[in-house]
Amino acid sequence: MSALRDIVSQGAQMSLVLGLAPLLTGFVRKVKARLLRRRGPPLLQPYRDLIRLMRKDVVLADNASWLFRVIPYLMFAGTWVAASLVPTFGNGLLFSWTADLIAIIALLGSARFFQALAGMDVGTAFGGIGSSREVMIASLAEPAMLITVFSVAMIAGSTQLAYVAEFMGSDAVGLRVSLGMAFVALTIVALAENARIPVDNPATHLELTMVHEAMVLEYSGRHLALVDLSSQLKLLLYVSLIACVFLPWGTATADASVAKLVSGALLYFGKLTVLGFLLAVFETSIAKMRVFRIPEFLGAALMLALLATLLRFVSGSL
């Protein structure tokens, strides 16, 4: 009986992230548009776009190799698995023993590796420039992300995400500087990884600034739908990662009743709404950075993460 329940809740989690990801993107777009005093597309527009793209034929470049056709599926699979490992409404899910933070970073890293390969595969100039920029950002964001993970893991005593979330929800945490710094560092990394505004703006097609868009420019039809869906999943993943590590209240524990799971899910919607709203406010209040300033921005994240680790050492050794 409990095995059945585990499978059902894990399945619910997997379909929840898949179903919610376009909605979150649509919500952020809508809030941004409202803040700019535009009406904006309806909330469900990302779903409509995905369905429309699914129906269309794929147009391939003459010199696209088999890699180009396989990569959307690989990216989507990697990102979906990673997103369904992050606890959303409940902690003790079936796969939570694999929900290691380092494994999640590795999954996202391989998805990004394939994306960069696809950008270079067709051989257009845009794909190359997008890939090279993406890899530059990744080479700075990943160390920052890993060190943030280390500082959080040193506080919680584990890189197991379910365990971290449970620890952060308990009273043992107290007031910690390291956590605040890790939070800011993780936010900066999330902005960079999801191609949000100070780093990249996927809404434009401006060759001076394109990063993500330049890589996926050659994709069409269902391939493009998968690429879009995986970038939406990635945004949802980072938002729920921040929610589960830094705002863990209300997440249902391993042996919770169904009512607890439902209330956990409702609270999770609330957290997504709040964080998505904050993201939209942040994005409308800041200007896009020059590409050559991005290393400094991400360097600040790396610095904060390192500092968080160092401060953790001080308070740990006293």
Binding site: G174, L175, R176, V177, E296, G299, A300, M303, L310, L318
Partner: protein
């Protein structure tokens, strides 16, 4: 001492180190001054918290001095100087921001290693304060080393002095007279430096200290 009291002291001292890093990151003079005012404000809060924890009322005076002189008067005065000199947009790092930050992290790690090794007997609050104070001092020195502009070197010097005050308040039994005299000597130093700034400007039409090197006949 309860763990919450310690956590708040840790938080304030840690944010002082963070403010030092923010100063390293800035490349506009006005922004640098604003961060310096923040730095001094955090210092005042931290000292006031120490006064509360140690139940030492004279430390409140130190906090007040930090708030009034360092967070208000000196930044306002420096704002005016910059306006008069007309140099508010000058960007003048010797090496890149990223490298400076890395060097800063190295200095913080160094000061923690040193301080936690040499003070195993002292109480936790003082140890932690000393470690952070040493890193604030070293970061202030780093700001002075990596800037070419004389005004930002002054700011580095002032932030270094903030680190000294943090160290002094962490150690129990520092008499008030010493603190006040330190605060005033820094104020005097600030006035002297201000006059020097105008002299340098008059002679070289710039506050870039490299002009001094050239004047001395050193080549680079």
């Amino acid at each position: 001492m309860s763990s919450l009291q310690f956590d708040i002291a840790h938080l304030l001292a840690g944010s002082l180190v963070l403010a030092s890093f923010m100063m390293l990151y800035q490349d506009r003079l006005y922004a640098l001054l604003n961060v310096y005012a923040l730095h001094a404000g955090v210092l005042a809060l931290s000292v006031a918290w120490q006064a509360y924890v140690q139940q030492a009322p004279h430390l409140y005076v130190t906090a007040l001095i930090a708030l009034v002189f360092k967070a208000i008067i000196i930044p306002v005065a420096l704002h005016r100087i910059i306006k008069k000199l007309g140099i508010h947009r000058e960007i003048e790092n010797v090496i890149g921001v990223g490298l400076t930050m890395m060097a800063g992290i190295g200095l913080v790690a160094l000061s923690m290693v040193v301080m936690l090794r040499v003070t195993p007997g002292a109480d936790a609050l003082a140890r932690e304060d000393l470690a952070f104070a040493l890193s604030v001092v070293l970061l202030g020195l780093l700001i002075m080393v990596t800037r070419r502009n004389a005004v930002s070197q002054v700011v580095g010097f002032m932030s270094l002095e903030n680190g000294l005050v943090l160290a002094a308040t962490g150690a129990k039994g520092m008499p008030l007279v010493v603190e006040i005299s330190v605060a005033f000597s820094v104020l005097i130093a600030f006035i002297v430096i201000g006059i020097f700034l105008f002299r340098i400007r008059e002679r070289f039409d710039s506050v870039d200290v490299q002009a001094l090197d050239r004047f001395r006949g050193e080549r680079r």
